[in-house]
Amino acid sequence: MLFIAFPVICYVIALRRERPGSLRERIRARGWGLLLPVIGLAFAAMMTGNHVLLVAELVASCLIMLFAPGVATKLVPFGLLLLAMIGANLFHAYRRSGEGSVDSVAYVFVVGRMGLLVPEAVLFFATGIWLFIHVRAPGSERIGRAVARWWQGTAAKGVRRGQELLLLPVLVLALLLLHPRHWLGISWWTAAGSLTVALLAAVGALLLMFRSRVWAVTLAAAGLLVLGAYGVLLAMYWPGLPGWRYGPIQLYLASTSLKGCVAEGIVLFALGLWLAPGVMGEHLGTRTEVLEQRVRTLTRTRTDAVDTAAAELRRIERDLHDGAQARLVALGMSLQAAERLFPTRPDVAMALVSEAKEASSQALTELRDLVRGIYPPVLADRGLADAIRSLAMDNPLHTIVDIELPGEVEMPVGSAVYFAIAEALTNAARHAGAGSVHVDVSHRNGMLKARVTDDGAGGADPGQGTGLTGIERRLATFDGILAVSSPPGGPTIVAIEVPCALSSPKTSTC
């Protein structure tokens, strides 16, 4: 009974966390949560070999297929991995007792032929892993970009392509934990010690890679679920395992009990389950959660954009006031004085006129610089590609430009990218001690990517450069990101990614 009641209870807990709505809506909204009863049922079937449970397993699968076919495809790899585990279990049981309980779905056809069981389990495992990598989860693009934020430069591409692979350490640990070899033969202390270390190492490594709160919680949830399930499974073998210990409490008790083991397992599993919906929502997002997240992002970036625009206008006003305006006032005064002096002191008047000419020239220079900072004329004239080439020409370092843009970028995005590259080039020339810079710009799959790489000394701290912070905020308005990688010894890489569409190339008017 426990094995039926337990997942049902867990699933009810999970569903109760949902907003009100019809059952169908809830199931649809939960998506990945449907995984839990299937896991529970499969475990139960695996342990008892009960035909009723097998039917329940099948019914659950059919329901999922009916209600959420999209989810069903995503469950397939999990199911396969589970089957592989069951296979390993069966094999072990057979080896021990000479007779196998092979009633579980996939292995029912190989009754009495244990030789086939192993390759079949291996096949399930391999297919499961392969599918796991290739089934793209909803929202994975967002994870990819979060990953890119921390995992910079060229590595980002590789990680984005195989991001699901990053979950493999957790899976492997789960398989290790659930494999019978660790229940028998090896002492619990050995197994627990090494597995805990391995788990901690995996968690540590992943957290180092991501430096992300979300991933920390994900791993905690996964760990709790796995350990909880392990505790409950262990109960099945309890009579044959004298002196075994399980769980944080029993490890420190003089005597152990089956009930205590199961209780701890349930508590840990429930804790994991409690964390899981939130974590899944964070990663994969039910529709509402995605929208809420989007609204938060938009609110933040809009505030930033408005602030930036206001600050920019203030700067322009100040520059005009102190620069061109002041010069025009001086110019008017010089001309007025010259007018008065012409009849009596023509030589002085002439000098004043020359001065006025000089002042107007300087006013022009200042206006020119101001205009360049607002919207570079060459960008307006020629578009992003030529504007970047022009930047490269003006850069004091030897600059190689590689641009693949089959069309023209919309003006606001183009301007943000232009200033980002300008800033990166300026930094390279000013700080890096570099001899040459490489600028790469390309557009693929609706994503504009730019990379500025210098051969300088590296060691730049992106947190220190206020210029790049502003650029990052400006790019964020377009859902763009900027990442800086600058290990000591170089090279420094500034990478930019902005989602945007390209319009058709500009046509010549003459």
Partner: protein
């Protein structure tokens, strides 16, 4: 000297016409759009065309493109391009292909009418005139010019602006002989083949800085 002027802002166009008439240029056409300019340049074959980069219809770099197109149709047609801002990119495009008869100046240079009319005559005579702002940007490539002395840099800048040895000597208050000595030194340091022709000299310097 027959001149075609293209400038879309009425006040500036009239100002240019007045200035050039005062210096005894003959204005054969003063136009305000790119198509009119192309027509005037090809039909009138002026001694020099004075062209604003930004012209209707698109108000981007139409003037520049017309200048390049006209020089394709009428090889060697002297064109002086004026702009509110200078871009190396545009300078290179103007200079590409053909030598001589090209100028690229900031509009402010009009303030100094002696120098400005001098530049027009220089371009009309087949010379090359580059704005000091462009040259400053060209010479900013550290790796390329790091080996030159400050004096040699000055001489190189003036050479790139398209000035003759005599003009450089006058500007720097040194003798022509000293200028040609500096020029030889520069060309030796940069591994360039020396040339007495001012145009080819500009192109050699630009090609070097471009590489």
């Amino acid at each position: 000297m027959r001149v075609v002027i293209a400038e879309d802002l009425y006040l500036l166009r009239e100002g240019l016409v007045r200035l050039l008439k005062a210096h005894e240029f003959e204005i054969v056409a003063a136009v305000g759009t790119a198509p009119e300019l192309l027509d005037a340049l090809v039909r009138e074959r002026p001694d020099v065309g004075i062209v604003d980069v930004r012209l209707p219809p698109t108000n981007t770099d139409d003037g520049l493109r017309v200048a390049i197109e006209a020089r394709k149709q009428v090889p060697g047609l002297p064109v002086l391009v004026l702009s509110q801002y200078v871009e190396q990119l545009y300078a290179r495009e103007l200079l590409a292909g053909q030598a001589g008869g090209v100028g690229y100046l900031l509009k402010d240079r009009v303030f100094n009418d002696e120098a400005f009319t001098g530049a027009i005559r220089e371009v009309a005579a087949g010379g090359t005139v580059l704005d000091p702002e462009v040259v400053k940007k060209l010479l900013a490539k550290r790796a390329k010019t790091g080996r030159l002395s400050p004096r040699e840099l000055q001489v190189l800048a003036l050479m790139a602006e398209g000035r003759s040895n005599a003009a450089i000597a006058q500007r720097l208050y040194i003798t022509e002989k000293a200028v040609s000595k500096h020029a030889t030194g520069i060309f030796a340091k940069l591994d360039l083949v020396p040339s007495d022709d001012d145009n080819r000299r500009v192109l050699a310097v630009l090609a070097y800085l471009d590489a």
